[in-house]
């Protein structure tokens, strides 16, 4: 049973890895596609151009992967920042409790009662459109989910005897946080990280689609779909295929995140077998 799950996870992980490698080397693999060719404008999908070409004669497949690279990179960085902030805030809030915790809960309520999209737009207005402000907007919300998870996790294990036990054998607060709490919490955070990258890739695409995020001439999936929409009657491949690529990556990230979560759950419950 356990082995079967491990095997599944390995396969999924391998697929994701291949996809990621393709993206990492997309510059080398597809670099020549992101060039304007006036002679092959708006061609239908064919063997040479599997996803067709756009009105400027650029290969849609190449651009989709190059765009994916940007999205993934941005998503990864954004989530890394979110995770760092979120885990620290969440752990501290739950471990020390008191005013710190109350403050956190208040902040959380405030942020959660903004319709998230609207606040995002406000931030984008403040900082102007572009990659940087989009990242800020993503982080503004992203850290909260990590913080909430970390907080609930820490609250759950804070009263476990092993924390008291560690205190009783003379470990300091800092030692306890880094030796016992963070390692225990991080195991639930990592699957979430994977899931959230998928999530933020979608978010980036969405914002770029509305024209707030990545700006042309960068290749980005959301942008490509937006541009493709103008040709909705004539060249449907312009928006269908980039979205498809995005979906594939996002599915894989979700699936791997899920499997990771399942696996860690099993490990948790593998204590003394109950009869």
């Amino acid at each position: 049973m356990k082995n079967k799950n491990d095997k599944k996870l390995c396969i999924q992980g391998a697929i994701l890895l291949v996809l990621l490698l393709v993206v990492v080397f997309s510059g080398v693999l597809f670099g020549k596609g992101d060039v304007i060719h006036t002679d092959i404008m708006s061609q239908k999908p064919s063997l040479q151009h599997i996803f067709g070409t756009d009105p400027l004669g650029r290969d849609v497949l190449s651009r989709a992967f190059i765009g994916m690279r940007l999205s993934l990179l941005l998503g990864f960085i954004a989530q890394l920042i979110c995770m760092a902030i979120g885990v620290i805030v969440g752990c501290a809030s739950a471990y020390f409790g008191g005013i710190l915790d109350k403050l956190f809960v208040f902040l959380q309520n405030v942020i959660l009662s903004f319709p998230s999209m609207v606040l995002t737009f406000c931030v984008l207005m403040l900082l102007g459109n572009g990659i940087f402000s989009m990242m800020v907007a993503l982080c503004l919300f992203g850290w909260l989910s990590y913080a909430r998870l970390a907080r609930s996790q820490v609250r759950a294990i804070k009263d476990a005897n092993f924390i008291n036990g560690a205190k009783a054998v003379g470990s300091s607060n800092l030692q306890i946080i880094f030796r016992h709490i963070v390692p225990n919490v991080i195991r639930t955070i990592i699957p979430m990280f994977t899931l959230m990258i998928g999530h933020s890739v979608l978010g980036i695409a969405g914002l770029s689609f509305l024209g707030f995020g990545v700006q042309p001439p960068h290749a980005e999936i959301g942008l490509m779909i937006r541009d493709g929409m103008s040709y909705i009657r004539t060249f449907p491949w312009l928006f269908i295929f980039p979205g498809f690529v995005l979906a594939v990556y996002s599915v894989m990230l979700n699936v791997v995140g899920d499997s990771l979560q399942d696996r860690l759950d099993i490990h948790d419950s593998a204590n003394i077998s109950r009869m």
């Binding site: 476990a160 005897n161 008291n164 204590n271």
Partner: protein, 270 residues
């Protein structure tokens, strides 16, 4: 050796309407080196709270804790760390008493290294681990295992090893065997008694199993709703209980009479 005077813990709850709950109310006792004091009482009577306060994992609301003639009820920092070394605790539930992500070895080493008992990574450290394992009756291979790979009894042994490594003056055992089977319970209790004879620590033993108390305790303190009900030598308390509550408790435990007494509605938290 360790003395407690008027130890009190009051929990306040409620935001608008403050309610006070006296978990422990002016409890006093003294345990001498090599002796065992047992605290008995129903769940929720405050015995676990006494344990946590005595080990300074919980701050007392008032009262004094005196170790070797020194008031330690409000020490902090370095002094507190030193105090922790002297006063050790074994918890009731072996299931989460050790960090599930850490090997037994590292859990034990955590204690040893915190106090720099032997140089880190030295051959002495290895020898000490080996000694400890022998002392508590575990195999050397258990050191490399994770807590969830061990049975409840084995975890308690590992915890005892970690506690003994610090050579404490006082050992607080909060129902160390209530989750274990009879045969394992006998193993653990015998081990504790043997170690007490060898190391001469004072022991505060919490239990609701009166037979266990009778077998290990020199003195008994009966608690009910945070208050001391009766205190005395084990045999005298068991033979001729003075307080009504103690008599009830004894009767109920030995199934002598039908006990009909309504508890409070809400489960009192431990």
């Amino acid at each position: 050796m360790i003395k407690v005077e008027n130890l009190t813990k009051v929990y306040t709850s409620g935001f608008f309407k403050r309610t006070y709950h006296k978990a422990v109310d002016a409890v006093s006792f003294e345990v001498k080196a090599g002796r065992t004091l047992c605290i008995i009482g129903e769940s929720g009577c405050g015995k676990s709270t006494v344990c946590l306060m005595l080990t300074r994992l919980l701050d007392p609301t008032s009262g004094r804790i005196i170790l070797d003639g020194r008031d330690v009820s409000s020490i902090r920092g370095r002094e507190l760390k030193e105090y922790h070394r002297n006063v050790q605790i074994i918890f009731q539930n072996p299931e989460n008493a050790l960090d599930p992500r850490i090997r037994i070895k590292d859990s034990i080493l955590e204690a040893i290294r915190n106090y720099g008992i032997v140089p880190r990574g030295s051959p002495e450290e290895k020898a000490l681990l080996k000694d400890l394992m022998g002392m508590v009756g575990l195999q050397h291979e258990h050191l490399e295992r994770y807590p969830w790979e061990l049975s409840g009894g084995q975890i308690q042994r590992a915890i005892i090893a970690r506690v003994i490594a610090l050579k404490p003056k006082v050992l607080v055992a909060d129902e160390p065997t209530s989750m274990l089977d009879v045969s394992v319970q006998a193993q653990i209790l015998t081990l504790l008694k043997r170690l007490q004879k060898e190391h001469g620590f004072a022991m505060l033993f919490i239990s609701h199993d009166l037979d266990v108390v009778r077998a290990v305790g020199d003195e008994v303190l009966v608690m009910n709703r945070g208050r001391e009900v009766e205190r005395g030598g084990t045999e005298s308390v068991f033979r001729s209980p003075q307080a009504e509550y103690t008599r009830n408790l004894l009767r109920a435990f030995y199934y002598e009479k039908e006990v009909v007494r309504e508890e409070s509605y809400v489960a009192a938290d431990q």
